[in-house]
Symmetry: D2
Subunit: 136 residues, 4 copies
Amino acid sequence: MTYAAPIERANLSKPSVDMNTLLEGIQTCFDCAQACTADADADLAEPQGHEMIRCIRLCLDCADVCLATGKILSRQTAFDPPTARAALQSCALTCKVCGDECEQHARHGLAHCQTCMEACRHCEQACTTVLSSLPG
Amino acid sequence: MTYAAPIERANLSKPSVDMNTLLEGIQTCFDCAQACTADADADLAEPQGHEMIRCIRLCLDCADVCLATGKILSRQTAFDPPTARAALQSCALTCKVCGDECEQHARHGLAHCQTCMEACRHCEQACTTVLSSLPG
Amino acid sequence: MTYAAPIERANLSKPSVDMNTLLEGIQTCFDCAQACTADADADLAEPQGHEMIRCIRLCLDCADVCLATGKILSRQTAFDPPTARAALQSCALTCKVCGDECEQHARHGLAHCQTCMEACRHCEQACTTVLSSLPG
Amino acid sequence: MTYAAPIERANLSKPSVDMNTLLEGIQTCFDCAQACTADADADLAEPQGHEMIRCIRLCLDCADVCLATGKILSRQTAFDPPTARAALQSCALTCKVCGDECEQHARHGLAHCQTCMEACRHCEQACTTVLSSLPG
């Protein structure tokens, strides 16, 4: 995510929250979307099949919500705090629930779920920080 | 959206909400995502340029949130009501705010904004109905 | 997809291909994206688990490519035929391969794969028709 | 994109191309999708309005294609070289055309378009490298 900082800084629309907080939110949303997409695929390759179903489903949902939220945060022009807040709340909760599910599988030794859990925890935390910085 | 009903009905995972309510939610989310994508583009082609900026921005956000929500609703397996609720709340609010913005431009004669407003109102209503049907 | 036609018609940017051909392309892309998202989920719920892995993977890819293509076709302003052509070729091929995989499972009695195959065939055909209508 | 490497390495499905080549492709696709999303927004905030329309449109298309391609590359299970090739060709071309457009605006002093051009060039190059490494 080498490009987020210079583009956001050159945007004539000034951000509604602290720039570093915003950049952390953007980066963790895109990172978590990639991690969840990859983890759903790694789950699919596991021999225990049906035990991974909830993890696959939550990872797919989490990737979708993280991408929507990461794109919303990437836009500074005519930023709308109430709708951004709702997206961030949805993203933080989905990351929490997906991270909890990944944690179960990490405890049983699945390294890809351990990494995906870290991505979810990081994104949940960053969304919570952006939420507490939103105006209004 | 000819395909949603037969696929959802053939899914061995039974839906957590009334099937017709669910199908209406899925269809309106995908329809609204397409309408908002097309309306942002039609706004871009308008000569009044800067007056359309908030509409373009909200349409892009609304398309992102509607697609995430429409995909979440399309999945019946290991459906998670709390995260679905948060996504639906985010979607209903974004459709409300985007619909209100489109309504302003519809009053000034922009037919594409009138149609997009209808898509947003319909999707907001369908999300609200799914929300009131969610278990838990 | 009740909204595509009036929005595209009200767009001041005129489409680069015949309007009905374009609308069919847009609608089948969004419909196929929904069908593939739902079919991947229905596959996940099947007891034969590992036999469905290739179908799940191709459905996830096909949903991603159909959404990208459906959004590109929804934009008429500064339409760029060469990049649209590449997206349509990618979409037509992915629909062909995903439709072929779904057909295997449809033959073994999976009704959701039968429906998804129909969505893929329809979208492949519509993309091919748009391709043959593109200028340049 | 701290998470891509450990998840891809822990995936029981082995990648079809060299791991470092694959990881570079995944990272540049997600990075370019974020850059293009942010650049379209920064373009919208520019006072010269209508001169930015082609850049906004191409950035929106490029973000869509990069996300689809980045997600396809993130999946190693039942990887399908022909459809991946078509997605990569579409992505490389769209990055080329979008990068060329951004370059025009960079020459007129728009720093956000300069950065977005770099993201597009990097992603185009990485897609071309993955293309030349694909089996078959």
